[in-house]
C-alpha cells in the first residue's frame, strides 16, 4: 500500500487519540499564551463602558449545560465588566430553562471577584426562566411584572428587592441595554425583535463560535452593538480584566487543536492528490 493510500485509510481512532492527547497536555502543562484583543472584544468593552453608571443591564442567558463551556466564561466576564463599571444586572431567559441557573452561578462568582459587598437583590436579581419564547420577551417589554409573574428564580416576589421594586417594563426608562447569549433559537434576534426594538434598548450579543458568522450580519448592519466571539472572546476579556477563568484555561487547547486541524487538512489533501495521481479510483 502506498503512503497516500495508507493515509487515506487512516483509522479515525488515531486522530481521536491525538486530539485527546493535545487537550490533556494543554490542560496539564499550561503555557499561558498571550490572548491579545480583537476588534470585536474592544467593541464589547466600549459598549459596556458607554452605558450610564448605575443603570440596569438585562442579561438573557439563552443556553444550557452543553454550550456553557463557551458561554459561562462570557457571562462571568461581562458581569465583572458590568459590575466594575457600576452597572446593576437583571437576568432572565425565555427559551432555555437552565440558562438563568448557569448564569446565576457565574454572576455570583463575578460579584465575589469584583468585591465591594455586591449583594443579590441590590446589585443583581435573577428572574429565572419565563416560558413563552418571543411572547415572554414581548410581555416583559410591555409589562415586566406580568411577564415575570412577579417572582424571581427562587419564587420570591420581585417587589421585595430594591433593584426590581419599581421596574414596570423592559425598556429604556428602566434599563440601559440587553446582553443576550446565543446558541441558536431563541437567541439574540428574538430578544432584539421582541424587546430591544419596541423597548428602544441597545442590544449586544455573546455567542458560541459556530454562530458568529451568522450573527456578524446584524453587527455590520448596526442592529447589534457588539458581538463577543465564543470562548476566545471570553478569554480576551478575562485577560483584560485580570480575572482568569475557564475562558483562558481552554485557549491553549484551542490553539494546539487549531495546529492539529491544519495538519489534518494538509494530510487529507496529500492523501487525496496522491491517490488521484496514482489513479487510485474514487477518493473520499
Amino acid at each position: 500500500m502506498s503512503f497516500p493510500e495508507r493515509l487515506h485509510k487512516l483509522d479515525f481512532r488515531w486522530i481521536w487519540a491525538v486530539t485527546l492527547a493535545i487537550v490533556l497536555v494543554s490542560v496539564l502543562f499550561p503555557v499561558a499564551l498571550p490572548m491579545g484583543m480583537s476588534g470585536s472584544t474592544r467593541q464589547v468593552i466600549a459598549w459596556i463602558d458607554s452605558l450610564p453608571k448605575g443603570s440596569v443591564l438585562f442579561i438573557a442567558p439563552e443556553y444550557g449545560p452543553g454550550p456553557d463551556v463557551e458561554l459561562n466564561p462570557q457571562v462571568r466576564a461581562i458581569a465583572i465588566l458590568a459590575f466594575r463599571h457600576g452597572l446593576k444586572l437583571v437576568i432572565g431567559s425565555s427559551g432555555n430553562i437552565l440558562g438563568p441557573q448557569e448564569a446565576e452561578t457565574m454572576v455570583a462568582e463575578a460579584a465575589k471577584q469584583v468585591g465591594g459587598g455586591l449583594k443579590y437583590g441590590v446589585n443583581w436579581v435573577n428572574i429565572g426562566y419565563k416560558p413563552g419564547n418571543q411572547e415572554a420577551e414581548n410581555e416583559l417589554e410591555r409589562n415586566f411584572t406580568a411577564g415575570s409573574q412577579g417572582v424571581d428564580l427562587y419564587g420570591k416576589p420581585l417587589a421585595g428587592y430594591p433593584l426590581t421594586r419599581g421596574i414596570r417594563r423592559l425598556d429604556s426608562q428602566y434599563f440601559s441595554g440587553i446582553w443576550a447569549e446565543d446558541t441558536g433559537t431563541p437567541g439574540c434576534i428574538d430578544w432584539y425583535a421582541n424587546a430591544a426594538v419596541p423597548g428602544k434598548l441597545p442590544l449586544a450579543c455573546g455567542a458560541i463560535t459556530m454562530e458568529i458568522p451568522s450573527l456578524q450580519t446584524y453587527v455590520s448592519a448596526g442592529q447589534y452593538k457588539a458581538l463577543l466571539h465564543g470562548a476566545a472572546g471570553a478569554a480576551q476579556l478575562e485577560e483584560y480584566e485580570r480575572a482568569p477563568g475557564l475562558g483562558l484555561a481552554t485557549q491553549e487547547a484551542a490553539a494546539f487543536a487549531a495546529v492539529f486541524i491544519i495538519l489534518l487538512v494538509v494530510a487529507g489533501n496529500v492523501a487525496y492528490f496522491g491517490m488521484r495521481r496514482a489513479g487510485g479510483g474514487k477518493s473520499a
Binding site: G132, L153, Y154, S214
Partner: protein, 208 residues
C-alpha cells in the same frame, strides 16, 4: 368537521395575533398581553404533557419487557426523583436539585457537547479536499478562521486576525444575508399557507 375545526382554530388564532399586534384599538384593549399570557400558559402545559407521554412510552417498554427496559426504569426513576426534589426544595444553591444539576447534569451535557470536537477533527480530515478552485477557497478561508479563533493568530501575525475579520465581515456576511433572507421569505410563505389552511402538516393524520 374533524379537519375543518383544527384548521379554523389555527387561522383564527393567527388572525387574533395579527390584529392584536398591528391594530391600534386591539393594542389599547391589551389583546396582545392576554394572548401572550395564553401562550405562556400553553407552553407551560406542554411540559407535563411531555412528561405524561414519556411515562406512557417507557411504561409500555417496562410492562412488555422490550429491549433495554431496564434503562426505561432508570430513566423514569431519575425523572421523577429529580422532579420530586425540585418541587420540595427548588433551584436555590445548596439544595439537592442544585447539587444534582452541578455535579451530574451539567458535566454530562458538557461531555456530550465536547465529543463533537473529536468528530470535527475526523470530519476535517475526511472532507476538506481541494478538489477544485471553489473548494480550495473554502479550505483556505476555513483555516484562516479556525486559527483566528485561537491565540495563535496574534502570535503568527497581526494580519491573520485582520484577514479573518475581513472574511467574516464581507464574503461570509454576504452569503449569510442571502441565506437568511431566503429562509425568512420561505418562513413567511409557510406561515401564510398555515394560516390559510393550505399547509396542513400541523394537524397530523387528520390532514389526509
Amino acid at each position: 368537521m374533524k379537519k375543518e375545526i383544527p384548521l379554523a382554530i389555527t387561522g383564527l388564532s393567527g388572525l387574533m395575533v395579527i390584529v392584536g399586534e398591528y391594530l391600534r384599538f386591539a393594542q389599547n384593549l391589551g389583546w396582545l398581553t392576554t394572548f401572550n399570557t395564553w401562550f405562556q400558559v400553553a407552553t407551560t402545559v406542554a411540559f407535563p404533557i411531555g412528561l405524561v407521554s414519556l411515562t406512557l412510552v417507557h411504561g409500555h417498554n417496562i410492562q412488555r419487557k422490550r429491549a433495554d427496559w431496564g434503562l426505561s426504569i432508570l430513566m423514569l426513576a431519575a425523572t421523577y426523583v429529580y422532579l420530586a426534589f425540585d418541587l420540595v426544595s427548588g433551584p436555590a444553591n445548596g439544595t439537592v436539585m442544585s447539587w444534582v444539576y452541578t455535579a451530574y447534569i451539567s458535566p454530562v451535557a458538557a461531555t456530550l457537547y465536547a465529543m463533537t470536537s473529536f468528530l470535527i477533527t475526523s470530519a476535517t480530515f475526511r472532507t476538506f479536499r481541494c478538489r477544485n478552485r471553489e473548494a480550495t477557497l473554502l479550505v483556505v478561508a476555513a483555516l484562516f478562521i479556525v486559527v483566528a479563533q485561537s491565540p495563535l493568530a496574534g502570535l503568527i501575525s497581526h494580519y491573520w486576525g485582520a484577514t479573518a475579520t475581513w472574511i467574516i465581515n464581507y464574503p461570509s456576511n454576504a452569503a449569510f444575508r442571502a441565506i437568511t433572507l431566503g429562509a425568512y421569505l420561505g418562513a413567511f410563505a409557510t406561515a401564510i399557507r398555515i394560516l390559510l389552511g393550505i399547509e396542513r402538516a400541523h394537524i397530523g393524520s387528520l390532514a389526509k
